[in-house]
Amino acid sequence: MKASPFDVSVRTHPGMAVLDLSGEIDSFAEKPLAHAYAEVEAADPRAVLLNFTDVAYINSTGIALIVGVLAKARTAQRQVFACGLSEHYVEIFNITRLADFMTLFPDEAAALSSAPSL
């Protein structure tokens, strides 16, 4: 299977930073995700949107990395939203209860128009 390396970039909207994630979220994603989230913290937005539209694969280590991002955001009282998850990963976010702590939207436009309290 052709590898799809993880990549992440940060964009900002008023009050919200968007983390555009792509490829495979596994152990190899740890450093680039930490670096990107540090960039978010420096901007100090009120909310973070994790954009999974181009993510092909998330394993249990990737879930742990997302838990880490969520924990940091909550410590800073930053809201966390997610968009672009496939049906399968929506199911996994429900099973793991990640969906209890971050509102899931189908896409970025829906997130930006519906995200409360920004």
Partner: protein
């Protein structure tokens, strides 16, 4: 599929190397049989090979995706906890079908893992820093398939992932 804590099936474990319970009333036909090196990231290759083996069976997308996640996590556990990422110790994967079920068996060459009894992940505790963010592997495996059986013997540790075919009935 088992999706919640309430419906998750307990893992059955056989410690004497005997035939797993799922063999009892079924005749199994092998549809794929391969090995992969114990190297970080290789679970993706295992998933791909399993999906190729299952392609002629026309499973629905949800069943295939859930089984893929279970295979990936089981392979990761086998490479990491069983074979300690020693590349010369392969993980063996066999895909079988019977009239009533699909079974994927993932075998390592290590000692029986302690992770099977590991603390269940609790997101509240993890977010509070009271539990490591990791530890989701077995939790996901149990919820992605209908049944999980563990067989330990003197030569290794095998996880049997079982999905009942009636789940694919229209």
């Amino acid at each position: 599929m088992s999706l919640t804590d309430e419906t998750a099936q307990p893992i059955s474990r056989t410690g004497d190397g005997s035939t797993p319970v799922s063999d009892a009333n079924d005749a199994w036909e092998t549809v794929a049989d391969f090995s992969i090196e114990s190297r970080q990231g290789n679970e993706r290759a295992a998933i791909q090979r399993v999906r190729e083996g299952l392609a002629p069976l026309n499973l629905n997308a949800r069943t295939l995706d859930n089984l893929s996640t279970a295979v990936g996590e089981a392979t990761m556990n086998a490479m990491e906890h069983g074979n300690k990422y020693q590349e010369d110790l392969p993980v063996l994967v066999r895909v079988e079908q019977s009239h009533s079920a699909i079974r994927v068996s993932v075998r390592d060459q290590g000692e029986p893992t302690a992770e099977i009894e590991a603390e269940a992940p609790n997101l509240d505790l993890k977010l509070a820093g009271l539990q490591t963010p990791r530890g989701w592997g077995l939790f996901l495996i149990e919820r992605m398939v209908d049944k999980v059986e563990v067989v330990d013997d003197h030569h290794g540790h095998t996880l049997h992932l079982i999905v009942y075919r009636r789940r694919d009935a229209p």
